[in-house]
Structures are given as C-alpha cells and as structure tokens.
Subunit: 124 residues, 2 copies
C-alpha cells in the first residue's frame, strides 16, 4: 500500500527541519535501508548508508535555517522546493532547491534527487 | 553533451505557454521521439506519440492561462512549479503542480512526470 499524503508530508517536514537543525542521525532515520541520494542531479549517486551519512555530516555542524516552499505529492513520489540558509557570522549563504523523493510504505525516503545549480546559491 | 541551462529554461517556458494557449502540435514539438509522460505520477505512463497526443488533446480546446513558478535545473533534469487556470465562464479551476522532466542534448523533453493530487486542484 502506498504511504498516505499526510505521512509523506510529515516526512518532508521532518527532513527539512532535520537538515537545517538536526543531527545526521535525525536525517538518516528518515531514510529507508538501501536508499539513494543524488545531490545535485548529475553527480554520482550515494548508494550506501556510509556515503549518505558522510554527505549530511558535512552540513551537520553548520548553523542553518530552512524554509519549506511548494510541496506536491502523487502516489509514492513527492517534489518540494526549500530554501536552506547557512549563517556564518554576518554572512549568509542561501540555496534554493527542488528535491524529488520516493517513499516506501512507511513513508521512509527510498530515493532523493536534488535539482539545483550554482545559480541557485546566493551569498548575502 | 548535456543541454545548456538556457536551452532547458527556454523549453520549459515554451512548454508552459503551449500547454495553456498553444496547440497539441506546439506541445508535441517540444518532446523528443520516444518520450514518456506520467501525469499524475502513479497513473500508467504514456509511451507512444499517439497516447501523448491524446493527453494534450483533452486540454487543447480549453481556455487556459498559466503561470510558471520556481524552476530548478541540474544536468539534464529540471523540476518546476506551475499553475494552470482553466476559465469556464465565471468559473475558474486552478491546478498547481510540480513537473519533473529530463531532456536530450537538444533540450527536447525525454520524460515528464507531473506530481500533484486532488488537493492541488481548486475551483473558484
């Protein structure tokens, strides 16, 4: 049975919150075993838990805030826009992306593809 | 070689314009041979030109306007939010979706997946 829209929405909200202010374990808890991460699309997909852990480990120590934009859900797929702001003293780096995810029956993430380019990253 | 961001952006803008106010041929001209369309995700993909033609033929006669929202591009992928408004006399039906597309080297669409649910369709 496909996961409910509500459970997918809840996973997405937890994901955005955890990426910005949580730990790597918080983020990893939202992924299903065997999940893949391609961020940005065009780079080599990360296909092991160690590789995914490494990826989120890079941003864990950063001071970040995130805002969730448009969210669309269909069957076991979702796409959503979100903006992640990294605060470095007086400076801010803002990145706005669309993530495309698939989910298992428990609304755990089975794949994540992030669509963005250099143009979507702005320093203030 | 992957298509340029500019050429993908141009295809997306033509697509949204053609879906709203163009002919089926205008839309089909943006697709590569062998392209697939899954709209919404979870329904059977349309894998022949005839099936894709039939799909866009349904909305061709409608009076519609469209607005392109957030667009993100990475390698040969793009995702974008757009709102399509169908005008029926005094009534309007508004649908807001995120389309995920892949492109060939000439920035023709090789696949389209539309992510939306009943909740994303609103009548005014």
């Amino acid at each position: 049975m496909a996961p409910s829209r509500e459970s997918i929405q809840a996973t997405i909200e937890s994901y955005v919150k955890s990426v910005a202010g949580g730990t790597v374990d918080d983020v990893l808890a939202l992924y299903a075993p065997g999940a893949t991460v391609e961020d940005p699309v065009g780079t080599d997909p990360r296909t092991t838990e160690a590789a995914i852990r490494e990826f989120y480990g890079i941003i864990e120590p950063l001071e970040q805030t995130a805002e969730l934009g448009v969210v669309k859900i269909a069957a076991d797929h979702a796409a959503f826009n979100f903006t992640l702001v990294t605060h470095m003293g007086e400076q801010k780096v803002e990145i706005s992306v669309i993530d495309v995810m698939t989910f298992d029956d428990d609304a755990k993430i089975t794949s994540m593809k992030a669509i963005w380019g250099q143009e979507d990253m702005v320093a203030h």
